[in-house]
Structure formats: C-alpha cells, structure tokens
Symmetry: D3
Subunit: 312 residues, 6 copies
C-alpha cells in the first residue's frame, strides 16, 4: 500500500494520523467545518472535515490519534485531504501514538548510553558525580524531551539528540585543539541545555507544549545554574570548577540579546557556544534541504535570518 504522502489528487486512502493543530471555522452559509493539520513521523498535511458538528470539535483536538478515510484534493497548488470518515484510534487498532511524532533518528536508549559513556570519561571525580547527580535527577524525561517548542530539534528526544551530537563534535575538536580540557567540555555540553526540562513543558509523547512559569521568568541558563549550584554543593565540588561550569551555562548563547549576560571567558566556554550553534544550524539546514529539490532554493527560513538555502 502506498503511503498517503505519495498519492495524487483523486486517489483515496485509509490511514492513521496524529492531530497536530485544529481550528474550527465556519462557511459563509453558516456551516461549521474543521481545518486540521495532521501527520505522522514522515510528514504532515492539511485536511478538512466539512459539516462538522459541535462534538467533532470537542473530540478531535491536538495530539489525538485518529483513523481517517479520505481522498487527496488539490487546493491552490497544494495537496489537501478531504475527510470522508474520521474516528479516534482504538486500542484494538494496534497503533501507538509515539510512532506518529517526529523523532530523533537514533534510539533514545542508544543515545542515553552514549551520553553516559562521555560522562564516565570525566576524570575529576567530583565533577563527574555532579553531572551524574543531575542526569539522575532528570530521570526518564531526558529520554523523550524535545529541545524546543518550534525551533531546531523540536523532535521527540530532540534534547538528547542535540546533546549527544555536540559531545561527538566536541570530542573531535578537542583532538585538533588539544589544549581544551575535556572534563569541562563534556560536563558543560551535557548540562548546557538540561534545564530545558524545566523551562519547556512537554507531554508524555515528547511534544513541547508551552514554557513553564519559571522558564519564562528566569530562562534555562539561569535555571541550569541554580541546578548546578545545588548539585555541586551536595557532591562537594570545588568552588572554581563549579564557577567555571556555571559560567559555561551563562555564556553559551554568546550575545546579550540571545540571553547571555556574559560572553565566554575561557576556551571551553567559547567552543561550547560554537558546538551549540553549529549543531542547530546543521539540523535546520539538513531538514530544510531534505524537503527541497536539487538546483532549487528553499523558501525564506526565519530560523536562519530569512536566508534561502541552495540545494546542490
């Protein structure tokens, strides 16, 4: 059976979808319809349920898994779904919601193991224990938390994926710039965005839903520093190392207007910033280009200062 993504106008299908956003609208004739954005792990599409009833609007809401019978229609040059039948997925359907969420390309368990491996290479015992304590406190949610509401790495397990890729790149650069202290580099990388667990609320399937109250008022840089301070005091980490680690968090956004009141003041803090920004940029570029044809430009991308990218 062909995936709905490859069908042409006129073709019909039956498939499961996760509802991402719904809006209840009305025609000028006064009839209600639902404008639904729905998708699976591969992509997403707009669908319309005409002549919807009030209970439809109540039932088909964000993050609900549904079974849809529909057909592809063309609307202003884009494919769209005209829904013929729709119902909530049932346990007996044998589908699982997490298969319908955009997800990091590696298993969270594997990535978690990689992170622990980097952590175990921190030689300063107290520093390693501080990191370990914080990772332990983070618990299960680290396995699925996304890294953002809608920017780079807004994927299930996006935070872990982002962190582990940075650890790999940091390890490589430390081979070239051999004066870098890998203890600080690994610890700082592992912890740099960990407080996003507290800054951004996510649901149990790894979709970010909103900023927390503390996240809005303090932000994950300061939240992370508060976590480090507490863990370091519990473990007994020396003051200088604690301070350097806190500075790495505080400075990793680099520019005041992006949230860092201090710029990096030693090489490991400097490199942490570049690891972070490069990984975000590579993710965004790869994603945008994967949806573009060879020899063409993408649309303007606001995450990249409205640049348009060229696909070789």
């Amino acid at each position: 059976m062909k995936h709905w993504n490859t069908l042409k106008p006129g073709e019909s299908f039956v498939a499961f979808f996760l509802i991402r956003r719904v809006e209840s609208k009305t025609t000028s004739g006064g009839k209600s319809y639902l404008d639904i954005v729905m998708g699976d792990a591969v992509g997403e599409i707009t669908a319309r349920l005409w002549d919807s009833k009030q209970e439809d609007a109540l039932r088909f809401t964000n993050n609900i898994l549904v079974k849809v019978k529909g057909s592809i229609v063309e609307w202003q040059g884009k494919k769209q779904v005209k829904i013929d039948k729709i119902r909530e997925a049932a346990d007996t359907d044998g589908v699982s919601i997490q298969d319908f969420v955009p997800t990091a390309p590696h298993s969270p368990q594997d990535m978690y193991a990689e992170l622990l491996a980097y952590m175990s290479r921190i030689e300063n015992d107290k520093l390693r224990e501080t990191v370990a304590l914080l990772i332990e406190e983070a618990g299960e949610s680290l396995l699925i938390h996304p890294a953002a509401l809608q920017n780079h790495h807004a994927l299930r397990s996006g935070l872990l994926y982002h962190t582990v890729t940075m650890l790999k790149a940091g390890e490589k650069l430390a081979q070239v710039y051999s004066f870098l202290d890998t203890d600080l580099l690994f610890a700082g990388t592992i912890l740099h965005d960990l407080a996003k667990l507290d800054e951004i609320k996510a649901n149990e399937i790894g979709i970010a839903t909103e900023y927390s109250c503390q996240g809005q008022l303090l932000g994950h840089l300061v939240q992370g520093i508060l976590k480090i301070e507490k863990a370091a005091r519990t473990v007994g980490l020396d003051e200088e190392t604690t301070l350097l680690l806190e500075h790495m968090l505080l400075s990793h956004h680099y520019e005041p207007e992006f949230g860092s009141p201090k710029r990096p003041m030693f090489p490991e803090a400097e490199i942490l910033h570049y690891l972070d920004i490069m990984d975000a940029r590579m993710f965004d570029m790869q994603k945008a280009l994967s949806e573009t044809e060879k020899g063409c430009f993408t649309d303007k991308l606001w995450t990249l200062d409205n640049r348009r990218l060229y696909k070789r």
Copy 2:
C-alpha cells in the same frame, strides 16, 4: 586656617591627604619624580614630588595617609601642588583614614537603621525572614561597601546610600501607584545590588579595588539569585515569591546589553528598574553640577552617554 582647596598659586600650606594614585616618572635628565593624585573627603589635587628616591616610590603608594608641606603652583591653567615635605601620617597625628575618603552624606548607622525599618514593614513573614537572613549574612561590610568601582555611588557606604534612597523613592511611588505590592518592592530593592558585596572587592576603608573572580564570571545579578535561592530554601519561602524575587534581580538592568537576559514581567520589577536608574542618574547629575558654575555646561560625561549638563 583656610582649606587647601581655596588657596591661590604661591600660597603654602600643611595638610593631611590620602594618596589615591601614584605614578613614578623620570625627567629627560634622568631624575625620578612622583606624580601623585591625593585628596580628602572634599576633593582631590595633583602633586609632584621632585627628585624622588626609590624608597619614596615604595612608601607612598595608593591609600596611604600622608602629611604634606607644599605650595600651590599653576600648571597649564590648573592648580597643582609642589611638595616640599611629605611623610606618612603617624598614630600620634590623630587623623583617621576614613575622614579622607569620599563618603555618603549620611551616617552608615542611620542608613542601616532606615533599611531595617523598611525591611520590618514587609508583611509576608517568610519573605521578611529571607531578606533578614541575607542582610545578616552581609554583616558589617554593608555599612561601608561602595556601589561601584568608578560609576555612580563609588563612595564609602555608597551601596547602602543607593539602596536606602531607592527605598524612600519606592515608598513614595507606591503611594501614587497604589496597586504596587510593597512587600515585593521593599524586598527587591533591598536585595537588588546586595551581591555587589561579592562582585566587587573593597578595602576596609570603603574603596572598591577590583572585581572578584566570581563577579567577572557571573555578575551580581546571577550572584544575587544564587544567594536568594539558598536563603529562601533555608527559610522556607514559597516558590512563587522566591521566583518573583529572583526575576526582579535578573531583570533590573532592563536591557540585555546591560546584563538582564529578561525584561521585567510585572509592575514591581518594572518600577525597581526605574528606581535604580533614576537614583544613579540623580547622583551623577548632582555630583557633576556641584562642580560646575551657574550658566555653564559640564564637560562631556561618559556615564551619561557623553552628555554635557547645564547648570541653572
């Protein structure tokens, strides 16, 4: 006896001074001399000790109290002192170094009592106890600490003076904008710069000497938040109030480029910023104008974006 500040070229005097800055220079003939900036609580003047010896340079250093016999000479349109005799002040001279440092215009004890009075008006018990704990920890140094290395309120007791004046102005504004919560306003004001005790090192006579290591790497906003977090946990202050107080500290510089990653998100945080900046500006303006003649402009003042002020 006339104060040296009022003497004319040609007149002689004997007086005590605190040495503020010294530079050892040499004439083209190869002779050494000391270029000294020295002063008392009223003002400062440049002096020259010609034909100085190596031991002079070692003895007459920053923050040393000296007795000088000299005369006023004119040098490129400015008055200067030609030193005839100079020696370190002795215990028997009956002078005390703190009388020679620019100092807040009120007694530190009185200001401290005022601060405690405002503190006692905080109605939320846990909040008041949190503030009290931090004030207690600050100890004696709050009595003399300056508020800056060289900006506004770089005076002995400058930090206390700045804080108490802001409390008075805040109390007044809360009478006009009666929806303001004075608990938060008083607590936030008392604590807003308290971590300058940790950010800026000062000597025992209330002169700031340099930034501390932690001060450079984190800054007094984040340092203050760490202090509040710890004290609030000790006292058992509720999470919301702790968070609001921490946000007030984080946002009181208002602009990212002045160190606040978050702008104020409720009225008391907003007003705290204006109390701070108004008090700094009033201090700087009053000082600059006090040294200017009626109907004239001051020099360009870098603390005021290079404005020149007009003296009515």
Copy 3:
C-alpha cells in the same frame, strides 16, 4: 439585569452599544453582512449583522450609538453577538454617548482642578503665567482629549489623567531628591504633552481619530516648543527659563529614535522623562494584568516590546 459581559452562549439580551469599528463583508454566496466591534465603558465584543443591506452599512458607522437585541454565540472559543435587531439610539432613549467610551477613572473636573492646583504652586510668576496662558488656550478640549490613538492612555480624558498622575509622582520624587526645582518640574510636566491637542485629532466624545497634518510633519515635541515660545514672549518670561522649558519638551522622549534630538541636560528634564515612561508603563501593565487570571501570563504586548506579563 445582568450585564451582557457576563452572559453565556445561548442567552439573549437588549442593550446599548457604541460602534467602534465596522467592516462590510460578503459571504461566498454573495450576501452582505456587517462585522461590528461595539462596546461600552466596560468592554467590547464582536457582533455580526447577517444579510445586511446597503443602508445598514451607511447608517451603522464608527461612533454611532445603537440599541441592539441579540444573543451570545460561541465562535472559535470566543463569545460573539448574533444581532437580531439593531437601530440607532434616539434622544428618547435617555442614553448619552459619553457613557460608552473608555474613560479615565477620575472626573475630568476633579483632575483639572488638581492640575490647576499644581500650577498655582509655581512660584516664578512669569513661568506660572506662561503655563496658565497655555492651559487657558487649550480650553475645554483638555478635559476630554485622549493621550494617544492606540497606545497608553487612549481614553477619554487620558491626556489629563496622564498629566495629573505624573504631577503627583513628580511631587513625591521631589521630596526625595530635594534639589529638584518644582517650578520647572511642574511646568514641564503640565506642558510636556499639551501639544497632543494639536497633534492628534479627537472627536467630541474623546476618541482619537487621526494625526493632524502638522502633527505628522512636526510632532508634538516641536509643536509644543512653538506654543511655549509664543506664550513666553506674550507673557514676558525670561529667556533662560523659556529655553529650559523648551529643552524639557524636546528631550522628554529621551532617545533619538523615539523623537528626541537632544537628551535631557539637567535633572528636572531627566526626571520628566522617567515620570512619563513610568506612568505609561504602569498604565499599560495594570490594564493588561486586569484582563488576566492569577498565575498566568498575558499575551505578548507590543507596547512593552512583546513582553508577556505575569499576574501574581
């Protein structure tokens, strides 16, 4: 009878409204309807008049007082009015248009009296007479003029309310910063926005409608200076005081990009700016928070650089 603001979907009512904005739209079936925003002093709501005729569009225009029979419906999560009957209010209805406009919380007569009281405390006779002449020329319109088209204090009597609140706050701050000259402070505050009477056109019920031609080409800072210059010459105010007053107007927006080619050059001009900005911010914050629930954040507020505020 319950106010329409508290009714639930399905409930009907009869009430008077002031029409704020109307748009004539058409359904895809080609039928016309009116999309009306209407309100009273308490709030506003969107309403729809289906199957409207051409004369409806001509009759029901901005700032018309109407009597509406309708019912509450829910539209995309918001309450809306479905209009059953609508007619213009008649003299016999005994309603008065000014009761339907958002209005400052104090009576204009009381605020005017307060303003005159502050004016009478200006000790320099010529300065007081200059201010008095300008207030006299302003005439009745000062009683109802709003302070803006859509920013802070866009209320009937908003200009007066803003000015009087600033006078109160200025009086308070002058008690703390006692070197401030209250003559200049009171005169500058009374006059700082007076030329908004010329910059912004308002109708007879105190709603700003558009910028005047002179307002667009010069702006109320320069317009105000032209007024002061003329009044000062008529009264015979000395040149220095005239100049200081003109500078206060010119500099009160502080930053070039907000319209001030000169920054404040003496303390009274400096404080005038802070009185102005604080009062605007307190107004905007109080208004936004009054419409928000405890423990939540407001939407992004563009008058506050897109900040979201937290409601304690």
Copy 4:
C-alpha cells in the same frame, strides 16, 4: 621669497602667522616653553618657543597675529619651527588678520549676491519675503560665519559657501527632476543651516569658538524652526507653506540619531537632505585628497566613518 611651507630643515625665514592653539609646557629641567600651532590661509605648522617667560604665555594666545623669525627643524619625521624671535604684529606691518584664516574660495560678497539671486527667483511673494526677512536679520555675520566648529566647511564664510553650492546643485537637479518645486527647494536650502548663526559662536574673523547655550539645548534645527515661525507670522506666510518649510528644516538630517525626529515627507525635503550631505562629503573628500599624493591613501578620516580615501 619662498613660502615657509616649501622650506627644508635647516632653512630660515621670517613670516607672519595666526596663532591657532598654544600650550604652555615645561621641560623636566623645570624650564617653560610654548608649543604653538600657527598658520596662515595656506596651511599650519607646529612651532616651539624655548625658554618662554610668563609674559610670553600671556601675550601669545589663540587668534593673535605674530611675526616670527625661525628655522625649520625635523622632529620625528615631521617639519617643525624653532622660533628665534616672535612678536605681535603691529598696525604698521600692514598685514590683516583675515588673510590668515582658512577661507571659502569665493568672495563672500559674490556668494552673498548669488544667494540673493536665488532668493529673488522664489515666485511665492510671501515665501520670498519670509526668506528675505530672515536673511536681513542675519545681517553681516552671514558673510563670514563658518558652518561648523571642526567638521565640513569650518572656514570663514563656510556657511555661505556651503549654502550657495547647495543652491547651485539643487538648481541643476531640479532640471532633471522637473516636478520639484524650486520655491520650496531654494527657500529650504537658504534657511536649512541659517540658525547655525545662533547655534555656533564665531569670532569676528570667522572662526567658530563654541556652541551657544541655546545651541546646546535645542540645536539649529529647532532654532531654525522658531525663527521661521516668527518670520512667517510677521510676513503673513500661509500656514501650509510655513509648515512645509519647517518640516524641511526638521528632517534635513534625515536620521533620528543625527538629530531629525522626522524623516523627509515630500520630494523637496528629501532632496534637501541629499544636497546637504553631498556637499559636505565633496568638501571633506576634496580637502583630504588635496593633501595626499597620487596613488596613495589618506589617513583614516573620522568625518567619513574612518574611511581612508584613494587619490587617483
């Protein structure tokens, strides 16, 4: 006799100079000397009077015309004058101070006549009379006033030179952009900097000395508007034309950060700005290049954003 400007180290000369700046210095041996910058209409040079006496410092001050006997010496790669004899010029010397000031390349009388000719071509009688009244009030000082303290056209008659050159260029451009109204263009150009007469104080030989008090507090844009307002009222110029003229003054610096709170809102105002900036740039560039050798770059020029210019 060769001009001193062309002499080589070792050669002697006798010549008259205008003293531009003097500083009294002292050698380490305690001997006084004067460090003098002196020049004539062609150029300027540094000179030293060794072993100077107190009366020398009092006599040889800024803007004094002197007769000097001296020789050229080389000092750190630059030519300098060693003064052998110096005295104040006497009436019997037959030299006139204005021959020693950098001066516009055309006679002020000729330029003044050109300005009047452009003025006479303004067809709107009231507008022409308004301009004429202001030119009349300006009086003699317009003939010699410089356009700046130290920027472009800091020459005797610099203001007139700048204005007349702009009139010529404006006339030319109006031939290409024929929809431009030359009445407004000529009037606006003649008046655009006229208030520099009030903003900048100059001495009787056409050298700017300092900003006036009103100049500092208001600036020549607002000062010019006040002048126009008064003259227009005297003459009875219609309100629209007065307003357009005032707007041209207010907007001619174009950017808020350069002093214009409003950007140009009609073509004549827009072109006025470009006439102004082009004339300033052409003046500065021509001057800098005239002092540079072919194929080389000038030093960094701060009036041109630190650009270095290339001399063809």
Copy 5:
C-alpha cells in the same frame, strides 16, 4: 469610450487586460472562483470570475493577455470588476502585450541612444571600449529589462530609464563639483546595475520574474565586478582604472547591510551612490504621490522606511 479606470459602480465595459496575479479560491459552498489582479499600462484592478472551472484556472495565468466583458462593483469601499465574459486575446484582436505593461516614460530606443551618447564622451579609449563591450554583450535585453522585482523602477525598460536619468543628474552635478572625473562617473553609472540582467530574470515583455541562481549566491555587485574584470582584460584596460571601476560597483550600495562590503573611497564612487539613491527615491516618491490627493498623506510606504508622504 471611457477608460475602465474612470467608470463608476454599475457601469459595464469591454476591454483588454494583462493578468498580473491569479489566485484560485473556493466559496464555503464549495464553488471555485478566480481572484484576478489585471491591468494595463495605466493601472490595475481586482476582478472576480465566479463559478470558475478547472480549465479557467489553467488558462488564465500570469502574464496572459485577455479580453474581458464586465461591470464595476463596489467592494468594501474599493472598485472591483465582476467578470461576465473572459477569453484569451487572439492575434486577430490586434492588441500587443507590451502595451499592457507598466513602462518607462521614454522610448527605449531614445534612452539607449542617450546612454550611447554619454558613453561616447568617455575620453579614455580603453575605458570607453570596456564599457562598449559590456553594453554590446548585454544586447537587446537592456532595452526592456526592469530594474527590480518589485522595488523602484520595476518597469519595462526600468533599468535603462534608471541608468539614463542618473547619467543626466551626474552630468549636472559634475558641473557644480568640477573636480569630478566624468570618465569614471559615466562609466561607473552605465555599469553600476548592468549585472541586474544576470541577477534578475525577466520575461520577454519586461517583467521581472525571479532571481537567478547566480544572483542569489553572489548578487549584482559581485556579478558586475566579474563582468568588468573579464571585459577589461579583453580590452586591455589598465589595472588602476579597472580597479577603480570595480570599487565603484562594490561600494555603490554604501552600507554593508545593503550589500557593499566597502564604502566609497573616492569622490566619483561617493557621488555614484547618491545618484543611485536619489533616483530611486524620486521615482518612488513621484509614483506614490501621483496616486494621492492634494493635502493628504499616502499610506505607509515600506520602500521608504514606512514613511507616509505629504502631497502638496
């Protein structure tokens, strides 16, 4: 017969139009209609074809010339066309597509001749030959190419019109600033935007359609430099002149954020920038004002930093 532009609601007409933009929309009843923006050389208007069929959407696309029978209706205060009949124009209709495109006000042949005349006045043979070679390579497309996708001079022959007007203004200014080298000025002006032929794709009727790949990746400044380098090498132009010409291209946008990595470093490069910006501004202003009534303001114009213009 009256032009459709002057008809009132209710009046009918038959006329030819060029379709500029089309959008296929659907009513809530599910019926399709086309929303068409169509125009001729004089102006443009929105039209609706109700009950459109799929083949209509395929046939009536951008840049198609059509014959329309319709009537004027009023829609939300604006005139609109209700289409009764529409068909593609046929050869037998005797209309030519180029009469329906906004076009420069002078004949391209005349303007081309003017450009060649300016070119022939370049005295340096090699420089003239370099320019001639590039103009020759440009070929026919220079006659019709627009200067932009949607900014100033987005007209058929807009590039030529812009260039020739700048040449005229440059010639005039060189009469006032006689030290300017007209060889460089004419050559630089002729070539400054020539690479827009490569940067912007245009169709055969002179409407810009999109940026080329090379245009996006390099931009017309660098593209122009590559063209000059090649032509100069072919002709044998000396290195210094080649370099100066290349610098003029590189610097003519003046500010880094507008694409110039270097600011102008000699007077001809400086003036080239002002010729360019003045011509763009005069074009935009004249166009916006031509559509505005006397005594009123235009809407905010984004090409002019959101200024509103005043029409005298």
Copy 6:
C-alpha cells in the same frame, strides 16, 4: 646562559634582537634618544639608546637585526633595557633573521605537505585542478605569509597554519555531520583566505607591512572570487561548482558588517565560517592565556570584544 627574558633589574647581557618599531625622541634638554621595541621569537621588550646620533636613527630601523649589550632596568613597574652598545648583526655573527620572527609552531614545509594532501583528496578532478592551479600560482609566498597585520595568526607562515588547522577541524566535523561534501569543504577552506597574499603586503621574512591598494579597494573576499573565476575558466570547472566556491568565499565572514554581502546558503559554506572563527578565537585565546598566570584574568582583549579571559 640565561635568556634575557628571565633576567632581573641590574643584570647585564649580550644578545641579538630584531627591531620591531623605533621612535626617535628628544629630552627636554634637547638630547636625542631612540625608543626601541625589539624582540626575538620568544618575546619582546622596550629598550632605550640614550644620546643617540642622527646616523643611529638612520641605521637602526624596523626589521633590522642587531647585537645589543645592555642591562635590565625597571621603569614604572616594567622591565626595560638600557642599551650600552648596539650594532647591526654581521654575516659573520651566524644569526639568521627568520629566527627572530614570531612563527607558526610547525615547519612551513610540513604544513604545506599537509595542505597538498588534503587537496589531493578532492575527488572532482576539475575542482582539484582549479585549487592546484591557484596554489601553484601562489608559489613560495604561501610558505611564509602571515594571515594578518595585527590580528589572529599575525605570524610568519600564519596563513598556512590557519588554513591547515581549519582543514583538520573540518575533516573531523565532516565525520560527525556526514552529509557535508568534503570536496567543497576542503577546496573552500584552502582558498578562503588565499587572496590575503594579494590583500596584505608582507616582507621576505613573513611580517605583514600594509594593505595593498587592491586589498583596500576590494578586500580579500572579492579578490579571491576574481582569482577563482579566472582559474576555473582556465581549468574548465563547471559553472555550478565555480559558483558554489565563489559563494563560500563571499559568505565566509558571515555578517555584512564584517564584509560578507551574502550569508552562507548551504551547509559547507556555513561550516567554513565556523571553522574560520573558531580557529581565530582558539589562537587568540591560547596566546592571551599563555601570557597570564593561573587564577588570573587577562587584560581586556580588543580582538575578543574587550573580554577579559580567565586562566584556569
């Protein structure tokens, strides 16, 4: 024998130095002396030659190798050399100038071989040949050219060192971000600064002396593009690859204000920028920290936005 760098005041030595900068000064007594900054590959120090003669100033100029007999003195807290004897180094001294210039830490031959090895891994034949042609044209000067006048990598062989380190880091990152095209990455890295050979003049010992004329007027980004265009045409490289390579050069400074009119539009261009900036920052940080004591801060570093760095 101890290196002069480790001697204390009072100790004497004989050593060779390269003169870096000389200034001829005079004492107030009228006696000349030379103020010399001299150094070797390890460091530099200020020295004074008292009672210098005119021929001394002519003989001891920049980049002259000298033999000095002197002693260490202390001057305002810093060590300085008092020169007793000084003469130019002779052939018979057996010292070689290149041993006295700060130099990259690897042999130029080794680094050159590494660069060629990376080049040989470019798989696209035409691309590799284009790079090879440009490297061949660069010739010997690539072995010693510095990368800057006074910023990062202002060392002999600095350009080569910078390029090779970036190649290594780029190779590593391409292992993590495996979608990167190493052909483009290696080619772009090798060529990104190659035109500094033309932008910056350096002498035969690898010290940058000044910007070239073309360097000032175009800059190494545009200069590099001109070189690539020519080489690509010679070799017959396809247009798309040429264009991508040119874009990489044009965009590698990233921000318009740092000279890039276009931001990177594909991942290899993006990464090239980060390789460049990271290598510059690591170099500057390592250098600054190598001269600082543990636990202290460096001075403010202007190459790092005036940050002070912390030495662990």
